[in-house]
Every structure is written in C-alpha cells, then in structure tokens.
C-alpha cells in the first residue's frame, strides 16, 4: 500500500486517483474517531466529508517534516469535530440555556485503550503514570471533545481543579514521553 504521505503529495498535485486511494486508506479510521467524539452518525458524516474535502484543498500545505500524514489528517478531523461540537453547544445554549451534551458517555479508562505500536505503548505507559483524576480528565477531553467548563460539570469538580489536573497531567505526560 502506498504511504499516506505519498498520496497526500500526489493529491496536492491534483491527482484525484491518489486522493481516492487516500480516502480508502484513511476514511474508516477518521470516521471511527469522528463517531467517538461526536456520538452522532449524521454529524460524524458531515465532519468526515468536510475534513476530507479540506484535506484535498489543503494537501499542498502538508509537510513531512512537520509530522506524519496520519497526524495531519487527525488534526483536520478533530478541528472540524471540535468546531462542530462548539457550534452545536452554542446553539443549544441559545435554545435551552444548557450547554452540556445530552449524551453522557463515561468512555473507557485509559487502561482499557488498545494502543498498539511503539508510540502507542509508550503513551499508554506514560498515561498510567498519571494520577487517576489527571488521566481521566485528559482521556475524556480527547475523546468527548469537552471544554474545561464541560469537564468540570461532567466530573463534578471545580473548574480550577480540572484545569490544573489537565495542565499538570499534560506536563507529566510530556516529561514521561521525552525524559
């Protein structure tokens, strides 16, 4: 299979067949992530479509030295998904005065995550060195797309406490990954 990096570079040159191959290689993983963050199939479909069209239009911006193609695509998808969540939350706030999503999904603990590959195992090991509260806040934030405020409500902890769990957790994670 052609590397995603090559397919993005070919897409940047206008090669639609390469983009179709990129779609086939990357769309299922991206759709799984969109479903995980958005919890709604219709939103996930919109966001996947937006993200892939954005990838086609911005393929010329991709630079291998700045990161892997997988990460580049994930960033586009997650940005679109987070924008969608924030916009829907703003609309809900305007409608009902309540910005919390109706669906409460506890999500898996980090320990249940199937993280494969060297990078995955290292991240998993490092997540396990965090305090449970820090790990839980970080994992929920990543997969549920929650803001500090929403996490604070979801976890029933003060905003400042949640912010500090996340800040310190992320700092420790970085220290652990890059000793």
């Amino acid at each position: 299979m052609t590397a995603l990096e090559t397919l993005i570079e070919a897409s940047a040159a206008g090669d639609r067949a390469a983009f179709a191959a990129l779609y086939d290689a990357a769309a299922p993983q991206l759709f799984g992530l969109a479903m995980r963050i958005l919890k709604r199939r219709d939103w996930a479909e919109d966001v996947l479509q937006e993200a892939l069209i954005s990838a086609w239009r911005n393929a010329g911006d991709y630079r291998r030295e700045l990161g892997s193609a997988r990460t580049w695509l994930t960033v586009i998808l997650r940005n679109r998904a987070l924008d969608r969540l924030r916009r829907e939350a703003a609309a809900r706030l305007a409608d009902t005065g309540d910005d919390l999503p109706e669906v409460a999904d506890p999500g898996p603990s980090a320990l249940d995550l199937a993280m494969a590959g060297d990078d995955g195992r290292r991240l998993k090991d490092c997540l396990e060195t965090l305090e449970e509260t820090q790990r839980r806040a970080i994992v929920m934030a990543y997969y549920d797309g929650l803001t500090h405020e929403q996490l604070s409500a979801r976890l029933g902890s003060p905003l400042g406490t949640v912010k500090s769990w996340i800040r310190r957790g992320l700092q420790r994670l970085k220290g652990c990954l890059e000793p």
Binding site: G14, R16, F19, A20, Y23, D24, A27, P28, Q29, F31, G32, L33, M35, E45, D46, L48, Q49, E50, I53, S54, R57, N58, G67, R70, T71, T74, V75, R78, N79, L82, D83, R86, R87, A90, L113, A114, M115, A116, G117, D119, G120, L123, K124, I138, V139, A141, Y142, Y143, L146, T147, H148, E149, L151, I166, R167, L170, Q171, L173, K174, E178
Partner: protein, 242 residues
C-alpha cells in the same frame, strides 16, 4: 535539550507549550480556540509546539476502532473534488450547479440565492457572480459579483461574524498558483469596491473562491493562514445557458 525552558512565552501566565497542549487536547472554548489560532498564524514556535503535541497524542486517535463510512459518502467527497467542467462542454444546469456548490438540494440552494439577490441591489451590469457557502448545511452565504469592465466587485456577507479579533478574507484560488486576496469581508455588510488588479485576470468562469478566517485586518503573510470556512465557484453570466 530540555525544551520546557525555551518554549515560547514560558513564563507564568503565558505558557505557550501548555496552551498548545490544551488546544490539541481540545479543552478550549470556541472563542479561546479562535484566539489561539489567530496567535498561531504569527508564531512559528507555537506552531511547532502544536505539531509536537499532535504527534504525542496521535496514538489516542489510532486506538479508536475504524468504522466504515457509508458508501455514498465516498462518492459525495469525490464529486466535490471533481475538476470543474470546461465551459461549453455540457449544458449548464442551474439546478445541478446549485446542488453541487451548495451540497444541498437545488431547492434550498435556489432559496438561498433568491434571498441574497433579493436583498442585493444589483451593481450595474454584473458580469459574473459566485455564492460561497460553508461545507455543512447552513444559512450563511457570501455573495460576490463583478461588473462587466472587471473594475468593481460587490460582496455581501449574510453570515455570522468570525469572532473577536478575526476577519473574513476572500481569496481567488488560481490553479497551480498561490491564492490572491480580494480583501477583507465584513459579516452582515454589503460592500462595493474596486476589484484588486492582481486578482482580476483570475476571476474567470469556474474560478474557485474561498473565505478564510484571519487575524483582524487580514492575513499577515499575504497567504491564507486560518481555516477556510466558505467556498464557491465563480460563474460568468454569459456562460449560463439555462
């Protein structure tokens, strides 16, 4: 190297790396995200911090089980990246064009166009126009027209404002050339002004136009830096056969 000591703005209260981490994790509100993205545009060190955090957290994305998207989504995506048909190659259908550019039903598209044109005083002898829309169904629409002498342009933005400290910037995207700015577009306003001479030769039938979100006053680099929110195709009136 212990890069915590030389990261951008590492002092208390302005921890660039910490904010990059939160941005990538996704805990910022919409306003905070937009403000951070505006800052990113002018700060390469911050962009590197974001790239590093994106790579660090990537295994979380990889660990999610893949889900097959609906098969028709593939066709929809590939149709949207189709090259524009050469003028005259097939009869132009307003309905098909609206469906294509709006990603909505032709009816919804037609309603949006009617709304904009009903509320837009026509410039003298419009030579061509474009309707720019968001990738998702939305009532926001930005209309663009030029006059027959290719000297003036009219932009009408029936759209929500881009957020504090941000402006919409309109671009024409010539094939195989960098985007050329058509200037700032103010949400909720109709504005008539000269068409930038550098852009005029590229405002041709089926030219791609886009609106990006930029720091207030427009892109500092002269190239789009923020997310592209609206896109649309420019059509010359004399190429419309239906």
């Amino acid at each position: 190297m212990t890069d915590t000591t030389d990261m951008p703005g590492n002092g208390p209260g302005d921890d660039g790396d910490g904010r990059a981490a939160e941005y990538v994790l996704g805990t910022l509100s919409l306003a905070e995200r937009l403000a951070f993205e505006a800052e990113l545009a002018g700060d390469p060190a911050l962009r590197r911090a974001v790239a590093a955090w994106s790579a660090r957290l990537q295994p979380l994305a990889d660990s999610v089980a893949p889900v097959a998207p609906p098969t028709e989504l593939r066709a929809r995506v590939l149709a949207q990246i189709a090259p524009a048909p050469a003028a005259g190659q097939r009869p132009f259908s307003l309905g098909r064009w609206l469906a294509w550019t709006f990603g909505l039903s032709a009816l919804a598209g037609a309603v949006a166009v009617a709304l904009v044109f009903l509320t837009t005083p026509q410039p003298p002898e419009a030579a061509g126009f474009a309707m720019l829309h968001r990738a998702t169904a939305s009532n926001d629409v930005i209309a663009f027209q030029i006059d027959k002498k290719r000297q003036d342009m009219v932009v009408l933005a029936s759209a929500a404002a881009p957020g504090p400290g941000r402006d919409y910037e309109l671009w024409v995207l010539p094939p195989n050339k960098p985007p050329i700015s058509l200037g700032i577009v103010k949400a909720g306003l109709r504005e008539e002004r000269p068409l930038p001479a550098a852009a005029a030769p590229y405002i041709t039938d089926f030219a791609n136009l886009a609106i990006s979100v930029e720091p207030s006053g427009g892109s500092p680099s002269g190239a789009p830096t923020g997310p592209v929110l609206f896109t649309g195709l420019f059509r010359m009136m004399d190429q419309l056969t239906e």
